[in-house]
């Protein structure tokens, strides 16, 4: 056994740092990866559909569901009164989010009842037949209307304050005020919301849910059905995209499925049509930002006083932490000697806005870049010069508005690297030269930075668990609390395990996330999936490895120091033994080959009331330069070239990380350009399908698109193999596109007037910004 024939390879396949393909790639391309709707359907499956409000704000005077019940194929109809537990799925516990509305509806599309029928088509048709009598109430659909109506806040606002803002603004040599409007965004995950519930004995129910947060689905089902968590198992192998849209938004569908399954004793599945999915579920918050900035003649900012008002929708959902994070990122990479940043999370009669990649951070950073733009045009300088002038760094310039010291700042290096790589200065000159002679077509270029704080600001979420088994044949079963939505979490954690045991990754089976294996998990969100679950899985591996070492030291009578894990084998003293053989021997010697692992992020703390603490373990950095070409007759534009340098620390998987950067950038570009949510005066969302809501397509990406991982960097904190989180930060690289458009618009008035280009910068907004700067320039010239 000791010298059995085995391959003495010098490295394992699928170790950390390898640019490994997504673990399901070969199944994705063959149509063999199973999503919930692809699972074989249990016998007797009933299909569910939701009946929705067709008013934005109204009292429900009467509900008659007789015609629904009588419709072909209908098995049952349920309303809020049928929930055995509490008719509420508010993730904050504020009790402001009914599963099914009973006496009042607060947005157009709010679910009121659920139909169970033989087929999905039967259920869909029946759901249209309700006779509901409403007494209309005045709707308040956006920030302006909510303020006008003196609408309440959905949650406590946050104030961040550092320095004497009044004094800073008053003493600043220059000062200006302005307003910025930032649009929202639909997630447009390609796989819509879906849940399949299978009833068991007693209170038991198993729910297959496309969710980023199985534990919360478990809690919500328990709460709404009045049963204990231990009766509920929630499983998710993969989502067809999440982006934050399945952090809380999956709860409704899972609860409804579980309700029908338990009431009817039959499996129940719900999958809304795309349009209904977009109408029902929350989106990225749109914001109105009012700002007051003090600065000096060089363009150095002295103080920023800003209010970030958000359309939160009818309930709190995650609007508290989202609007908090907008403030945490209203500095982006810039040091404000004095700052007062306030959130205004407004209730509106629209869908309840929710998590979306970046979680308020992008809106904060769009604000920061507008502040910079204003100062640049006011001082007549290149915006990049103003950006660099205000970067964190240097004596006493390293404390954020929330009193965290920025310890790992590399933004100046990242920007300098990008500036060189993309030849920013020469291209800026070329753009200006082009614009001098081109009347109709204008070009624009901009380079913007990203600094993004990593950790849940709700400190308790920064924990994770994992479960690792080794079977007698040496194959490994891996489970952890993180969910896979395409971001490559599963393969990254499997790489961590393969490296830990020094076994080829094909020996590691990645298994579906389930509340039955790892309990009390956090949402896979805040870019934290790998940081948390990678560490938890590593802890589990280390526990088993310690047992194997103890066992081997004893069995082969060598000191523990002489035992090492080599690729697919162990060195034990002077001999090498195959990993599987050691495992088998350990089993025979009654050594436990299974372990949980646990991790909690160190160092972080946050006192929300005081607005002080260290909410973030570390920061991720990046920068992007974009060049655009704009038609001043129509406002149409193209992104011609993009260069990105992004910091992922020491990458666990450069291919996966690159995919996150490219994909995040394009998603951010869509948010800031063509993706426009449009509600009519009655509060109906009219952009509720891909025919009307335009996410980027293949031809929208720049023909020149250079993406580089920042070289020779690490994470100064002891994260998993010194890597950095990458899910959200790259989205904000797209700010460079907005500012390149702004640069092109500015050229229409000889760069003298800040374009104040709001988002999304559709051709219409671009054209009107051009008209505005031209009008102002003309007015200025004539006065």
């Amino acid at each position: 056994m000791a010298d059995a024939a085995f391959n003495r390879q010098d490295r394992v396949a699928g170790a950390v740092r390898e640019a490994r393909a997504h673990d399901s790639a070969h199944k994705h391309v063959a149509g063999e990866a199973l999503y919930i709707d692809d699972m074989p359907e249990p016998a007797g499956l009933t299909h569910l559909y939701l009946g929705l409000s067709d008013r934005a704000h109204a009292r429900i005077a009467a509900v008659s569901l007789d015609r629904v019940r009588a419709a072909p194929g209908v098995i049952a109809v349920f309303t809020g009164a049928d929930l055995p537990g509490v008719n509420d799925i508010s993730s904050t516990g504020r009790h402001d989010e009914p599963v099914l509305a009973t006496d009042i509806v607060e947005y157009h599309g709010q679910p009121i009842f659920v139909v169970a029928a033989q087929t999905r088509n039967d259920a869909r048709r029946a759901a249209q037949l309700a006779d509901i009598t409403y007494e209309d109430l005045a709707p308040f659909n956006d920030v302006a209307a909510a303020r006008e109506a003196k609408a309440p806040l959905v949650t406590d606002p946050l104030k961040l304050e550092r320095g004497d803002i009044e004094a800073a603004l008053q003493s600043a040599p220059r000062r200006l005020k302005g307003r910025l409007t930032i649009g929202g965004q639909d997630h447009f995950y390609l796989e819509g919301q879906i849940a399949l519930a299978i009833p068991g004995e007693d209170d038991d129910v198993t729910i297959y849910s496309s969710t980023q947060h199985p534990s919360e689905v478990q809690h919500m089902v328990g709460h709404a059905l009045g049963i204990s968590s231990h009766a509920i198992t929630v499983e998710c192998r993969r989502m067809g995209g999440g982006f934050g849209g399945k952090e809380t938004q999956a709860n409704l569908f899972a609860v409804v499925a579980a309700l029908a399954a338990k009431k009817l004793g039959r499996a129940a599945k719900i999958r809304p049509d795309r349009d209904d999915d977009m109408i029902i579920t929350g989106k990225r918050h749109d914001f109105v930002v009012d700002y007051d900035i003090g600065f000096d003649h060089d363009g150095r900012i002295h103080g920023v006083d800003a209010v970030f008002a958000a359309r939160c929708g009818y309930s709190a959902d995650l609007s508290g932490p989202v609007t908090d994070r907008s403030l945490f990122h209203a500095d982006n990479s810039y040091y404000y000697p004095a700052a007062r940043l306030r959130s205004e999370p407004l209730k509106t009669t629209t869908c309840s806005n929710t998590a979306f990649r970046g979680f308020g951070g992008p809106q904060g950073m769009v604000g920061a870049e507008r502040f910079i733009d204003e100062v640049a045009y006011a001082t007549g300088k290149d915006p990049l010069e103003i950006r660099k002038l205000n970067f964190y760094g240097g004596e006493g310039r390293d404390v954020t508005p929330y009193h965290q010291t920025v310890e790992d700042n590399i933004i100046a290096d990242v920007v300098a690297t990008l500036e060189r790589r993309c030849d920013y200065a020469a291209r800026r000159e070329a753009v200006r030269a082009f614009n001098r002679t081109s009347e109709i077509i204008k070009r624009g270029v901009a380079l913007t930075p990203v600094k993004f704080g990593i950790s849940f600001t709700a400190t308790w979420f920064n924990q994770a668990g994992a479960l690792v088994h080794i079977y007698q044949d040496g194959s490994v079963h891996l489970n952890h609390g993180g969910t896979e939505m395409g971001q490559g979490l599963y393969v990254k954690v499997a790489q961590v395990v393969a490296s830990a045991f020094q076994i080829d990754i094909d020996k590691v089976k990645i298994t579906a996330t389930t509340t039955g294996k790892v309990p009390n998990t956090s949402a896979t969100a805040a870019s934290s999936g790998t940081d948390l679950n990678g560490m938890a899985a590593l802890a589990a591996c280390e526990a088993i490895k310690a047992r194997l070492i103890d066992f081997a030291a004893d069995k082969w009578s060598v000191p523990k120091e002489q035992i090492a894990f080599l690729p697919n084998r162990l060195r034990i003293g002077n001999q090498e033994v195959a990993f599987a053989d050691v495992v088998k021997a350990a089993y025979m010697a009654r050594v436990s080959l299974s372990s949980t692992g646990f991790y909690k992020t160190p160092k972080i703390h946050w006192d929300r009331k005081a607005g002080r603490g260290r909410p973030f373990y570390y920061y991720a950095y990046g920068a992007a330069a974009s060049e655009v070409v704009v038609d001043t007759l129509t406002g149409e534009y193209r992104v011609e070239r993009v260069d990105i340098v992004h910091d992922v620390g020491k990458s666990l998987n450069p291919a996966i990380d690159r995919g996150q950067i490219e994909g995040g950038f394009v998603q951010g570009m869509g948010w800031l350009t063509t993706e426009e949510l449009w509600w009519d005066p009655q509060g109906r969302l009219r952009t509720h399908a891909p025919s009307t809501y335009k996410i980027p397509v293949a031809s929208d990406i720049p023909p020149v698109f250079n993406v580089e991982l920042m070289a020779d960097v690490s994470n100064r904190e002891a994260t998993i193999h010194r890597s950095k989180a990458v899910g959200e930060p790259p989205l904000m690289l797209a700010n460079s596109v907005l500012h390149a458009l702004s640069d092109a618009v500015a050229s229409c008035a000889d760069y003298r007037i800040c374009p104040q280009l709001d988002t999304p910068a559709t051709p219409e907004r671009v054209l009107f910004a051009i008209e505005r700067v031209r009008a102002r320039a003309a007015a200025g010239a004539s006065s």
């Binding site: 391309v29 395409g486 293949a698």
Partner: protein, 497 residues
């Protein structure tokens, strides 16, 4: 009457007799056939997750096209070969070059759009050899991916040609055999699919069609289904009885009549594009921007006109060109200017028993200018906020003798700008006349605010498009479009850094 739908699912003959006449192909694949690799993303033909290939006999060869199975009725694949993602793996289980390229280039993340993307790439791989990047992006315009940002997918599209020759694909190797099998499925019987008194009829030839439309004047006429499919998939409308034109080969014909191109109503948007490209480069580009590739393969010229949508893109262009349409009723026909066909919002001059048979698109004379601009939020696969089409004819003295200006998105129907046109008559084609004509547009149109654009933007842009027309026609060197023009913009930046 034949009551059985017959088609090849891969190599297997499927015969279906009991089926909902408007069951979608996607629902049948996922539900009945349990082929769940094909996904539903939007059920309206915009996201491409449901993309499959349909092979049909075209001049005795099998022609494969990507289509959206979510808005295609099962009954309309009668006589075709249907290919889904499940057939791509090779016999030994290894991946097809298209699939392997996607894996190698990290072209999938969540994987949900991936089968559709692979099928669109597969169609490209089968039909075209190493297309350029613009063509690749075009072939993928009907496939949304929310994860990758497309870069690795485009790389896969470039790399897939290096991973295996076409001959390795059994589909290519068996082409002749497949053609024979499909030919054997052809007949002259009308296909009748019926359940619970709801009927779909698919006649095999135009004369049978004419008789059926006379007999069932209230029937829904189904062409490519890229609009009608949504009435069912989205609005859950019962559109029966349905008369499908899908089997009538003669109505796909495209003929050059010397002074005009005559398009059969069933000519696909892609086929029409090819035929019109030489004659009207602006129509080439306009048609390129219709929906995605899948919609252009399925959607028809006749359907785009006959549904009378205020935002159909072809009607403004055809109005400006002075196109005529032929309507057939039984054995009789009438020819009318297209303009007379559009009466009001979603109301057309189609009489009981009539159907649109063909469209005649005039060619340009030397003294004429023609130009189209489509304005959208997103360049590809988007519906017009404004679509402007401009035609002028000048006399010997250079003065304008005829003007036809038509817009989509500006009124309840595609509509001509009569005041602007009158303003141009007798004037030279210059800055002043363009400005004066633009000034008339506010009289001609009272557009509305909606999600595609505000009324103010629509009016502003409509006027500016006249200026674009002037600049592009009077200084042909001037390239003033950033995209969607006949060439890409000038001053393209330095190459890949």
């Amino acid at each position: 009457m034949r009551r059985t739908i017959r088609f090849l699912l891969g190599d297997e003959l499927r015969e279906i007799t009991d089926c909902d006449p408007t069951a979608t192909l996607l629902d049948w694949l996922r539900g009945e056939a349990r082929l769940t690799g094909t996904k539903e993303g939007c059920a309206e033909g915009d996201c491409g997750a449901c993309t499959v290939l349909v092979g049909r006999l075209d001049k005795e060869r099998v022609r494969y096209e990507a289509i959206n199975s979510c808005i295609r009725f099962l009954a309309t694949v009668d006589g075709c070969q249907l290919l889904t993602i499940e057939r791509l793996r090779r016999a030994d289980g290894s991946l097809h070059p298209v699939q392997q390229a996607m894996v190698d280039q990290h072209g999938s993340q969540c994987g949900f759009c991936t089968p559709g993307i692979v099928m669109s790439l597969y169609a490209l791989w089968l039909n075209e050899d190493r297309p350029d990047d613009a063509r690749i992006a075009d072939a993928l315009a009907g496939n949304l991916c929310r994860c990758t940002g497309y870069q690795p997918i485009l790389q896969a599209a470039r790399a897939m040609y290096d991973l295996g020759a076409r001959a390795i694909d059994p589909l290519v190797a068996n082409a002749a055999d497949t053609a024979q099998r499909l030919a054997a499925l052809r007949d002259q019987e009308t296909l009748a699919v019926e359940r619970d008194g709801r009927r779909l009829l698919a006649p095999a030839n135009a004369n049978d069609l004419a008789r059926l439309v006379m007999a069932e004047p209230r029937a829904t006429l189904l062409a490519g289904g890229t609009d009608v499919g949504l009435w069912v998939a989205k609005d859950l409308r019962d559109i029966a009885p349905v008369i499908s034109l899908s089997r009538i080969e003669s109505m796909r014909s495209i003929e050059d009549h010397g002074d005009a191109i005559v398009l059969g109503a069933m000519a696909s948007l892609n086929d029409a594009r090819e035929a019109l490209a030489e004659v009207h480069p602006h129509l080439d580009e306009l048609l390129r921007r219709f929906g995605g590739e899948q919609v252009r393969n399925a959607g028809t010229i006749g359907g785009n006109i006959a549904n009378g949508s205020p935002i159909g893109d072809l009607p403004p262009a055809l109005l400006a060109l002075g196109a005529e349409i032929t309507l057939r009723r039984g054995p009789g026909r009438r020819v009318i200017p297209l303009e007379q066909y559009f009466i009001a919002y979603k109301k057309q001059d189609r009489r009981d028993g009539e159907f649109l048979e063909s469209v005649s698109v005039p060619k340009l004379s030397k003294d004429s200018l023609f130009h189209v601009s489509k304005i959208t939020k997103r360049f590809d696969e988007d519906i017009s906020a404004v679509c402007g089409a401009f035609f002028i004819k000048r006399g010997q003295d250079g003065r304008i003798v005829k003007a036809r200006i038509a817009f989509g998105g500006m009124a309840a129907t595609p509509k001509r700008a009569r005041n602007a046109e009158s303003m141009l008559i007798g004037r030279a084609w210059n800055d002043e006349s363009a400005r004066l004509a633009a000034g008339c547009l506010a009289v001609d149109f009272k557009p509305i605010d909606d999600w595609r654009a505000s009324a103010r933007y629509r009016l502003t842009v409509a006027g500016n498009l006249l200026r674009r027309f002037l600049i592009e026609t009077t200084s042909p060197e001037a390239n003033i479009r950033v995209a969607g023009g006949l060439q890409r913009a000038t001053g393209r930046s330095a190459a890949r850094g």
